[in-house]
Symmetry: C2
Subunit: 336 residues, 2 copies
DNA sequence: AACGTTGCTTACAACGTTGTAGAAACCTGA
DNA sequence: TCAGGTTTCTACAACGTTGTAAGCAACGTT
């Protein structure tokens, strides 16, 4: 029931290669021959065997998107855009969950492919430039993190500037005891470090001293971590009047913890997030955030990767940045 | 820089097939031969070419998971579990977004694979049994929907019983004007229809009349649709004292709309959802819901599919059901 | 009439892997 | 020592596709 070029060729009375030529849109095929072949293809419902084609061509037409976790909404939304952008260019996307650990990320970066994929869009949490160096020649685009002197292209937003801008927004509302949630012992250049730097810079701009007790770490960036960090901040006695959470899920967790503590948002504590996930547009209160242009990020990443795959693999790595927008909502400005 | 079996064979001084045997864990290889081969593999950093292996074996080792939208948290969470369950059995998962339209779903079901995938786990919104009939022989497992007399295995939870149970929960709290949000003109057997049936049955159990004005349709099941439907219900004058939303994102939208209308949850209106997504555990208030065992669903689906792929493809379709649990939280029971 | 040109088609040989069948080496027990 | 088995290894032929090179018409040009 599954047919091959040979079957089509026999039915149409031509050679196998002629059928191949028709399938691949080769120009010099007589119209009546082409018609006969196409008829045979339709009758047999022929579909090319991609494994064979890939074997022959050395390409698979599949790119992978490796993200730490799919049920972090930011990555899910990003994945959606990547799939769409890739489809426009004729690529299929294989989505891979790394889990975020260094070992798993190494496996993902090195292992997925091995001839199954042509390239990789990779959003690393823990990996460093050294880890990436070992990946001989797999075309790769990094997302969201700046791996210093990394061997690969990457697409990012200016995390420092964005964090600085949203912290300045909190300052502009008259807040002075501004906490941060989400610091991590990640490699230099990772989002956590950059956003912390932007936070610190904004405080400095405003002449507010950096108070270590107001900076809460979060092992992961889930809602539960945000809630736990917020509770920790509140019970430590260093009562903040604003919190900048390094992503929206942390912020949603923080909102929950503030609610449980009987504090009003934004009257008692203003809350800001980062990523602009859909939840934040419907939470109570709605969430002030930095909205990165996810569609642009996805498109740039796919285009860069396609360029690497089909073009020059040895060109020096490129770095593109996507725009973002400060999006104030109720969690800092109150009911509108 | 990319090596083949032949290169390894030459280096180890054995035949190509012996290297193949080592790679595939064939038993009868002398220990010293095996050691020599493994050394050569390590030295050359050899990785098998999957396209060639697949061509030879007629398998790809990849299964697809087709869902309507990845950024609906329920599907993201499900995808996570499917990827994990598949990995345990040595399969890779290709995640495909259909968008939910009938035409796109047809393309996804028919087109993805064509030798790229061995089978498909499919969560259809719009497709009917007729559409599926044309997919000659692609092993497939359907999720969450009962496509009557469908030609494929499926995994589901008892939507009618679950909806009935959660509606009964609302009745048990003394509510009488219980609205439903999420009805759709989908095919018989789709989730929307089944959950509506369970809702109606519970009302009937309690001797409460079914009031069409309390049933609000939702074109999609996003937060925005839930909020819009809730506003519609409130402005129509038929003030409900409880709402059963057919999924959690609808419910989160409804919570938002109720908040904007100045109504308290659950004192004025109790709200219940369906799916137990993570958001609902951190929303204000937390969300009463039906928690399907997503991990079990994923595992059953993967195992059924693996069975189809490696075993009998003509066996009659099987239907497995996964457990669920009513999970009361603040949105119906108030602060604990 | 001989010639090159162009358009269309084909045979053949890969791509890198594994199944089959069988050869060679090695055991075992009489 | 040898028959009969088992272990270990190998040569060969696929899997379905496409690139290469070459063949064969039909055409226009000299």
């Amino acid at each position: 029931m599954r047919h091959r070029l040979k079957d089509v060729a026999e039915r149409a009375g031509v050679s196998v290669k002629t059928v191949s030529n028709v399938v691949n849109g080769y120009l010099h095929v007589r119209p009546d021959t082409r018609a006969r072949v196409e008829e045979a293809i339709a009758e047999l419902n022929y579909r090319p065997n991609l494994s064979a084609r890939n074997l022959r061509k050395g390409r698979t037409g599949v790119i992978a998107l490796a993200v730490p976790e799919l049920d972090i909404p930011y990555f899910a939304e990003l994945a959606r855009h990547v799939v769409a952008a890739a489809a426009e260019l004729g690529w299929t996307v294989l989505i891979d969950q790394t889990g975020g650990g260094p070992e798993q990320e190494r496996v993902a970066a090195a292992g997925i492919g091995d001839h199954l994929i042509d390239g990789l869009i990779f959003s690393p949490l823990a990996l460093t430039a050294d880890d990436l160096a070992g990946l001989d020649g797999m075309p790769m685009v990094l997302l969201g993190e700046r791996v210093d002197h990394g061997p690969a292209d990457h697409v990012l937003i200016d995390n420092v500037a964005a964090a600085r801008e949203i912290t300045a927004h909190l300052v502009g509302l008259g807040r002075r005891r501004i906490a941060a949630i989400g610091s991590q012992r990640t490699p230099e250049g990772a989002s956590a470090r950059l956003r912390l730097a932007g936070y610190a810079a904004a405080l400095d701009d405003a002449g507010i001293g950096y108070d270590e007790r107001l900076v809460a770490p979060a092992p992961a960036w889930h809602r539960a971590d945000g809630a736990a960090a917020m509770r920790e901040l509140l019970s430590s006695g260093s009562r903040p009047d604003a919190v900048f959470c390094f992503n929206d899920t942390l912020a949603l967790g923080a909102l929950r913890a503030l609610h449980e503590a009987g504090l009003r948002v934004p009257q008692d504590v203003a809350v800001a997030g980062f990523d602009d996930i859909e939840d934040g547009r419907f939470s109570v209160p709605t969430l002030t955030t930095i909205a990165p242009d996810k569609e642009r990020i996805a498109r740039l990443a796919v285009e860069l990767l396609a360029g690497r795959i089909t073009g020059d693999r040895t060109a020096p790595p490129r770095e593109l940045s996507a725009p973002y927008r400060l999006t104030p909502r109720e969690s800092t400005e109150g009911q509108s």
